[in-house]
């Protein structure tokens, strides 16, 4: 099992600065998002599905496999400018 610390941005800040989830090693981004829904509640499922996970360098596709502990961020829909 691996613990991921996920930094919150935008509307996710209602849950604090970071969220922590524990998933099996070799889990995909999609599986980490599913664990987040389980933790936050089904009422936040659409928000999590519309959001993306990122590491410090790039936004990650849902099929991306994470092999080791790494800092992540969750990015809800954007509205800069």
């Amino acid at each position: 099992m691996i613990n991921y610390s996920i930094k919150c941005f935008g509307v996710f800040r209602q849950f604090g600065d970071t969220l922590c989830v524990t998933v099996d090693a070799g889990s995909s981004v999609q599986q980490i998002k599913a664990a987040l829904v389980q933790q936050l509640g089904e009422q936040h499922k659409t928000l999590v599905e519309e959001s993306v996970l990122a590491n410090d360098n790039a936004i990650l596709p849902n099929a991306y496999i994470l092999q080791e502990e790494t800092p992540l961020s969750i990015l809800p829909p954007v509205c800069g400018g």
Binding site: F9, G10, V11, R13, G26, S28, V29, E50, S51, V52, L53, A54, D56, N57, A58, I59, L60, P61, N62, A63, Y64, I65, L66, Q67, S73, L75, P76, P77, V78, C79, G80, G81
Partner: protein
């Protein structure tokens, strides 16, 4: 440098933007300045807090400017976005584009702001006169994620198109 991009917690400067793109071979500088509006969907706004993923926002700005340079060659770019809380009329973003002739700078500047709104990891929390605040809805980055050029080499499927 023909592309300069920043996220800043300091007030943004139009003079800095113009000086960054000025070029003796260029006869035009187009600028876009985004400011905080005092009204949104019938609610009186007192200010906006801008939340930014700094590293990925600057990366997105740079990628967008590179794309624009591909579409309008021989153009120079400056993009600065504010991070933090601004009152009404505060400057949230400055984009400056220079080019040999005016048409390219107008078009490229429009391209950059429209793409930033869709692709840069930035969020707005509006503050209202009644003391309430709301995070504004936006554009999902899901499409960006599925077209990410980063590959772990262990994807479950051909996820990178």
């Amino acid at each position: 440098m023909s592309i300069q991009v920043f996220v800043s917690a300091d007030p943004l400067s139009l003079e800095t933007a113009m000086q960054s793109v000025i070029d003796p071979a260029h006869g035009a500088i187009d600028t876009f300045i985004g400011t905080v509006r005092n009204m949104h969907e019938g609610k009186s706004v007192t200010g906006i807090t801008y939340d930014v993923h700094e590293a990925l926002a600057e990366k997105a700005f740079h990628e967008i400017c590179e794309e624009a340079q591909g579409l309008w060659p021989d153009t120079r770019y400056y993009v600065a976005h504010y991070q933090g809380t601004l009152d009404v009329s505060g400057i949230s973003i400055i984009i400056a584009v220079s080019s040999p002739h005016r048409a390219e700078s107008f078009e490229a500047c429009r391209y950059v702001i429209e793409e930033i709104k869709k692709r840069a990891p930035i969020w707005k929390k509006e503050h209202y006169v009644d003391g309430m605040s709301d995070w504004l809805p936006g554009h999902s980055l899901s499409e960006e994620a599925e077209h990410s050029m980063t590959c772990c080499g262990h994807c479950q499927e051909d996820a990178h198109g």
